[in-house]
């Protein structure tokens, strides 16, 4: 792996380090935190969709499991938030692993339908188990504390998610350029070729599905603690689609594309607020133009244009 690969990471870290001094008020601080959280989720999802070439339309479901684990377990069972987060990730991982084998016998549209169904089922469970989850109204989430230190101010949150994002970018870059990541990309490129090279294709699809689901669950917990309140909308189908859109707009199989996709799709609706009733129309138009003129996504298209690797 060349040194060049990490330039983008250094740039992201530099931007993250400077932002708190540049951002004018807490509104922007809040936006920056949401962007960073989304970026980490999208990184995990891009490993599955962009690199391994397997679609998931139910990822918000895993996010929901993590978020509700962090809300329900401390509130009703008095579990420590950190343990609750771990429990959410564990449950998500087990669920994903259990379902992945039958799901990955499917391909293309069928795989999309199966993951879509999974996401919807999780959403329905969260809505209907009102005794635990508060139903459609949602429920409050206790603050996240560790060793007597409680995360409360935006500033603290900012540094935590900035660190998480930098680490995730670094880990993703490492992963895709490792034997594991090569096998993932290879099964996307040619399943039969990777199989005869010794790659256990099903096992790799299952692994990356579980990894990206656990990523989503953990970040669901983080979001829940940050926002302080969860609703079933966390696990909603439209949220899944939003995440997939971030992957596609930023660029499939591009680590930096994931970050850029999250930045654009989280910030753009805010930036377009001045269009009032028309913001969704303008937003949709921008997305359509992006896809028409840059079908491979922003980062791969720009990288190809300026002849640099991404």
């Amino acid at each position: 792996m060349s040194k060049k690969t990490f330039w983008g990471l250094y740039l992201i870290m530099a931007v993250l380090a400077c932002l708190p001094w540049v951002l004018p008020n807490s509104f922007y601080m809040d936006l920056a935190i949401r962007i960073a959280i989304n970026a980490v989720i999208v990184l995990g999802l891009n490993l599955l969709i962009g690199f391994a070439g397997q679609i998931s339309l139910g990822h918000a479901g895993f996010l929901g499991i993590g978020a509700y684990a962090s809300a329900v377990l401390p509130t009703h069972f008095g579990l420590h938030p950190v343990l609750a987060m771990a429990a959410g990730a564990l449950v998500t991982g087990l669920l994903a692993a259990l379902l992945a084998r039958p799901i990955f016998k499917l391909k293309g549209h069928y795989l999309a339908m199966a993951t879509l169904g999974l996401g919807i089922i999780i959403n329905i469970v969260l809505r209907n188990e009102a005794a635990l989850t508060g139903g459609p109204d949602g429920m409050p989430v206790p603050a996240l504390g560790l060793l007597g230190f409680e995360l409360s101010s935006d500033k603290h949150w900012y540094w935590v998610v900035a660190l998480l994002l930098s680490f995730s970018v670094w880990a993703s870059l490492n992963l895709i350029n490792s034997p594991f990541g090569r096998a993932l990309r290879a099964l996307h490129g040619s399943e039969v070729a990777s199989q005869v090279a010794g790659v256990d294709v099903v096992r790799y699809k299952v692994s990356i599905f579980v990894i990206s689901a656990v990523f989503a669950s953990l970040m669901g917990s983080v979001t829940a603690h940050y926002v302080g309140f969860v609703t079933p909308n966390f696990a909603d189908f439209f949220h899944s689609i939003e995440l997939v859109t971030m992957v596609v707009i930023g660029g499939m199989a591009s680590v930096y594309g994931s970050v850029l996709g999250a930045v654009l799709l989280t910030a753009l609706p805010q930036a377009l607020a001045s269009f009032e009733g028309w913001e969704t129309v303008v937003f949709g138009t921008i997305l359509m133009l992006c896809m028409i003129f840059m079908p491979r996504g922003l980062v791969p298209t720009l990288a190809a244009k300026f002849g640099k690797g991404a």
């Binding site: 792996m1 670094w170 880990a171 993703s172 490492n174 992963l175 350029n177 490792s178 034997p179 594991f180 990541g181 090569r182 096998a183 990309r185 290879a186 996307h188 490129g189 040619s190 039969v192 070729a193 990777s194 199989q195 005869v196 090279a197 010794g198 790659v199 256990d200 294709v201 692994s207 990894i211 199989a253």
Partner: protein, 514 residues
């Protein structure tokens, strides 16, 4: 003990017995070739042994251990590597990464350690990078070590597959048509490469149509025909075997003979083009240029076809033959020049409209609609035609290709390569062509079938069809053509009557790269 032992191997696809009761064994360290006419079951046999298909019955022993039904990745673990007839390269990765993939099983594949940049993993990866670069040099790809796989030419990708297979450190290597689609010079290089691989101690099993290469390389040869073992032995034994000679050259004695040669079945005629008066110019191409990105594939082609003529366009791989046809039919954009058809400028006419004007193409690699029935494939060819004469045309095509009539309800994907070629030509004829474009109709076919295809072309010609024939098989094409054009790296370098070109040394030079 034999390294690989096959006993009574069978597989059925639906009712088709693709491989029947085949038994043979391969001693370690030899080069073993599997040959046979198209559709004989060679690739199916490879797919059975390498775990892509599961046999219906029979056994496969590798070093005495039963391996039938095991997945390809489990076989890779036991040292079985292979390449594919139709390339299987990961185009989303670099050339070097494709080779590194071959070493997958020899690496630490833990994702957690990888994500944390564990020193042992990065160190091993750097070593592997160097090893894989060496392998690329070994197969003669030193120029492509830094290249992206999707930027490499076909011939180089064929070698890249071999390098990837070698990265597995295989005990037994299956090569499925390593020379298919290569020009004679490249074929000689691959021949030498396979020899080098065999000399390094790897047992090589080879499917190949190039008989010179097979005879030159193989210690033993297995001949398949209609899924059955026809003969086995050394090159000399096989060459002298009367059954083998019959299978290859025609003179078929067996009762079943499913693909009857269509030679001299005079019934079917295609009088769509009225046999004409002193030929008017039907197609006039001048200064045609076309580019793929920055690469100019056609650099100003001038060519004309008169009504009723058979014109051959020949040239080595990569000369631009297929690009020319694609540009002519409007699938590939033309960056300069003009095309006149029946006196009208059609440069700006969409491809579907060109087809309606009577330019019908049988594309390279046949491109039949695999899941659709043969009849539906043919009916699709008549998509632009008035319903009234579709039945009539269908009957004509069936007359011309009786095998298609016999199998009319079967999915086109179940046909062998030669039969698919007949179907592709039939489908083009259903469009009532003014001019028939044939792109590499003999590609990848066994000698007997090549002969059949050229017989079909001859008959169409005799009926007055205007034909533009693009062929790598220059000699056969020029022999039946009225006139020919020799294409070299995007330019017409020679033109003349078929006979003139046949005797021209420059034509041979264009092919052999001398």
């Amino acid at each position: 003990m034999a390294l690989l032992e096959i006993k009574d191997l069978c597989i059925n696809f639906g009712g088709v017995k693709a491989v029947q009761n085949v038994s043979f064994s391969i001693e370690p360290g030899i080069v073993y070739a599997v040959i046979g006419p198209n559709g004989a079951g060679k690739t199916t046999l490879f797919n059975l042994i390498t775990g892509v298909y599961i046999p219906t019955s029979g056994s496969i022993l590798l070093d005495g251990e039963a391996i039938e039904g095991k997945a390809p990745n489990e076989l890779a673990r036991r040292g079985v590597a292979r390449t594919f007839q139709n390339l299987q390269i990961c185009m989303n990765m670099s050339a070097l990464e494709n080779v590194m993939l071959g070493a997958h099983l020899r690496l630490d594949r833990n994702p957690l350690k990888a994500a944390l940049r564990w020193p042992s993993i990065t160190r091993r990866d750097a070593e592997l990078r160097a090893e894989s670069a060496d392998l690329m040099r070994f197969v003669g790809l030193e120029a492509y070590i830094e290249a992206r796989a999707d930027s490499m030419p076909y011939g180089a990708l064929k070698r890249l597959e071999i390098a990837r297979a070698l990265a597995l450190k295989p005990r037994i290597l299956f090569l499925d048509e390593p020379a298919a689609g290569l020009n004679p010079k490249e074929t000689i290089e691959v021949d030498a490469l396979v020899r080098k691989v065999a000399d390094s101690g790897v047992t090589v099993v080879l499917v190949e149509h190039d008989m010179k290469m097979v005879m030159n390389l193989s210690d033993r040869i297995l001949v398949l025909d209609y899924g059955k073992k026809l003969a086995e032995g050394t090159g000399d034994e096989v060459r002298r075997n009367p059954d083998v000679i019959a299978a290859y050259l025609g003179a078929r004695t067996s009762e079943e003979a499913p693909s009857e040669p269509v030679i001299d079945t005079p019934s079917a005629t295609f009088p769509f083009t009225e046999p004409s008066l002193p030929a008017e110019v039907l197609l006039q191409v001048s200064g045609m240029e076309s580019c793929y990105g920055r690469i100019k594939a056609l650099k100003g082609i001038n060519l004309e076809v008169r009504r009723g003529e058979t014109v051959a366009l020949v040239g080595a791989n990569g000369a631009g033959k297929t690009t020319f046809l694609r540009t002519l039919s409007g699938v590939q954009p033309m960056s300069a020049g003009s095309i006149h058809f029946e006196g009208e400028d059609i440069s700006a006419v969409r491809s579907d409209q060109r087809m309606r004007r009577g330019i019908c193409q049988s594309p390279e690699g046949r491109q039949v609609f695999g899941p659709l029935s043969i009849e539906d494939n043919l009916r699709l060819g008549a998509y632009t035609q008035a319903r009234a004469h579709v039945e009539e045309d269908l009957a004509r095509v069936f007359d011309m290709f009786p095998i298609l009539k016999e199998k009319r309800q079967l999915p086109a994907g179940t046909l062998s390569g030669g039969q698919q070629q007949m179907l592709a030509i039939g489908r083009a004829l259903m469009g009532r062509p003014q001019m028939l474009l044939l792109d590499e109709p003999s590609m990848g076919l066994a000698p007997l079938l090549v002969q059949e295809v050229f017989n079909v072309v001859k008959r169409l010609k005799a009926q007055g069809m205007t034909i533009l024939l693009v062929e790598q098989n220059a000699f056969a094409a020029l022999a039946i053509a009225d006139r020919g054009y020799v294409l070299e790296t995007g330019l017409v370098t020679l033109t003349g009557t078929g006979e003139e070109l046949l005797s021209n040394e420059q034509v041979q030079a264009a092919y052999l790269g001398m």
